[in-house]
Symmetry: C2
Subunit: 315 residues, 2 copies
Amino acid sequence: MTSHISPAVAAVDWGTSHFRIWLLDAAGAVLAERRSAEGLLSVPPQGFAAILENHLAVLQAPAALPVVICGMAGSRQGWVEAPYASAPVALGEVLAGAVRVASSAREIRIVPGIAQHDPDAPDVMRGEETQLAGIAALASGGHLVCMPGTHSKWVEMRDGAVAGFCTWLTGELYSLLSSQSILRHSVTGAGHVSPDAAPFRQACADALAQGGDIGAQLFRIRAAGLLAGLSAQDSAAMLSGLLIGAEVASATRRFAAADKKPVTLVGSAALSPLYRAALELAGHEVRIADGDAAVRTGLFAAARHLGMIESKATA
Amino acid sequence: MTSHISPAVAAVDWGTSHFRIWLLDAAGAVLAERRSAEGLLSVPPQGFAAILENHLAVLQAPAALPVVICGMAGSRQGWVEAPYASAPVALGEVLAGAVRVASSAREIRIVPGIAQHDPDAPDVMRGEETQLAGIAALASGGHLVCMPGTHSKWVEMRDGAVAGFCTWLTGELYSLLSSQSILRHSVTGAGHVSPDAAPFRQACADALAQGGDIGAQLFRIRAAGLLAGLSAQDSAAMLSGLLIGAEVASATRRFAAADKKPVTLVGSAALSPLYRAALELAGHEVRIADGDAAVRTGLFAAARHLGMIESKATA
C-alpha cells in the first residue's frame, strides 16, 4: 500500500512485543503501514538495524528517509539507550532528548522515556510519552490521562508538561489470574467482556466502593461458580470489572488533587469501552483518544520538533 | 517409626497437592507419621483406596483401624463427596456431617467442608474447618482466625461456631507475581523474607495505610530496581509486605465488628512470623497456633465426635 506521494518520515513504535511502522507525508498523513511481532523480546543481538531496514525496503522507502522511533528500542536492552527524561518535565523537552543511532548512515532518532525519581513513587514509562505528545493538541491545560494496557499508566498533565504518573499492573493481573490462578477454572471459555454486562458494572461499583481493595472479592468468583453456577462469561466480566474498577478507584485517590479534571482515555478498541464505563461509574468526565493515532501523531510531532522534516512542508 | 502402643485411629489430611497421615493413640498422641505429594491432583481415577491402604500397610496399621480424613478428598472431584455444611454452623455439626466411604470394609469417614451461601459473599473451605476444630480449645468465645496460605482464610468464630469467613488469594498472587509477571525480574534470586526486614515492614505499613489497595505500589518495585538499584532481596520483601499487609488491611475491614478481638494465627513456620508482624503493625493482639498440630488435633476431635474411638480410651 505505498503511495505516489513521497514520504517525509518513517515513524516507528517499537515495544516489548510489537513493531509498527508508518510512512508519513509532510503533513503527517499515513502513506503506508506495517505491523509485526518483532518486539524487543524477539530481536536477536545487533538485529535492530536489519529488522528496520527490511520493513523500509518492503515499503520501498527512499534511502535517505529519516526514521523516528519510540518505545523499548530506546531501553538499556534495546538498540541505543535513550536515557530517561526526569519528571516533572515538558513534553517538548522529552522529544528534544531523542538520541541519534550513530551506527546508521540514515538519520534515525529514538525518543527517550520518562522516569519519576520520587523515592516514594518511583516509576518509568517508554512509549507513552510519545502518545502524550500525540494528544497534546486535544487536551490543553490540566488534565488526567489514562492509558490502559498490560501496565496501565495514569498521567497528570499540566500545561504541556508531565507533572506526575503512576503504573498499575491491571492487564498483566487479568492475564495471570484468568489463565494461571484458581480463577482459570471459572473464566475458561469466556468471550469478549461487554461494558454493558451487569456483572462487569456491579464488580466495578464494588471495587470503587472498596476504594480499590478487591482482595476479598476475587475468590468469590470461584465460590459463586461452585455454589451458584456462575457462568464463565459472567465470571470473566466480574474479574474484569473488579480489576478495572480497582485501578480507577486507586488512581482517582492517587491523583485526588486532579479529580475534578476530565480524564482523557488513550486506548484500544478492546479496552477503551470498559475503562470508559468504569470511569463514568466513578463520576469522571471522559474524552476518548485512539492509542494508535496518538503514538503516530506523537512520533510525527517528535520528527518536526527535531527538525527531521523539511520546514517548508510543515507550514 | 511405628510404636508398640496400639493406634486408636489414623488421621489423614488429604489436600489438593499433599497427603499426610498420622497414627494416633487413644489420647491423640502421635505414634507414626507419613507425608507425600499424593494430593488430589495426582490421584488416578479410583486410586484413593490404594494410596491410603499402601500408607497404612507401610505403617503396619491393623486391618480394623478406623480412618478419619479431611480436605479435598471430600470434594466432588475427590474420593467420596462430603457435601458442604452451611455457615453459620457449629463445628460439632460440621464434624457430625462426615460421610462414610461405603466401598471400604474398613471404617473410613471424610469430614465435610463449609460453604457460605451469602450471595454477596459466597465462599467455601475444605480442610480449614478441621483446623478450626483443632484449635477450639485454645480460643473460646468470639475471635478471629487467620489461616495464611495459597488461599488465605479468615474466619470469625463465635462460641464454637463459624459465624462467617472470607478467602484472599495472597499466596497465589505472590507466586504468580514473583515468577510470571514483570516483577520476576526484580525478585529472582531472593531468599527467605524476614519479618524484621525494613522493606517488608514499610510495605506492610504502606498497604495498611492504603486500606489494602496496593494497585499503585506493585510496579514501584520494578521501577525502584531500574532507577535506584533495589536488590532482589529487598524487592521480594516489599512484594511480600504489600500482599500480606493488604490482606490484613482488607480482612480487618471485612471483619470490622470483630476488630477488637484477638487474632489466632494458624500457619506454617514460614508464614506465621510474617503474618504476625503484619497483624501486630495493624494493632491486633496475636495468638499463634501450629497448622499441622491444628489439623491433627481436629481430626482426632472428629474421630471422637463420630464415636470412632473406644469410649473407655477417651475418658
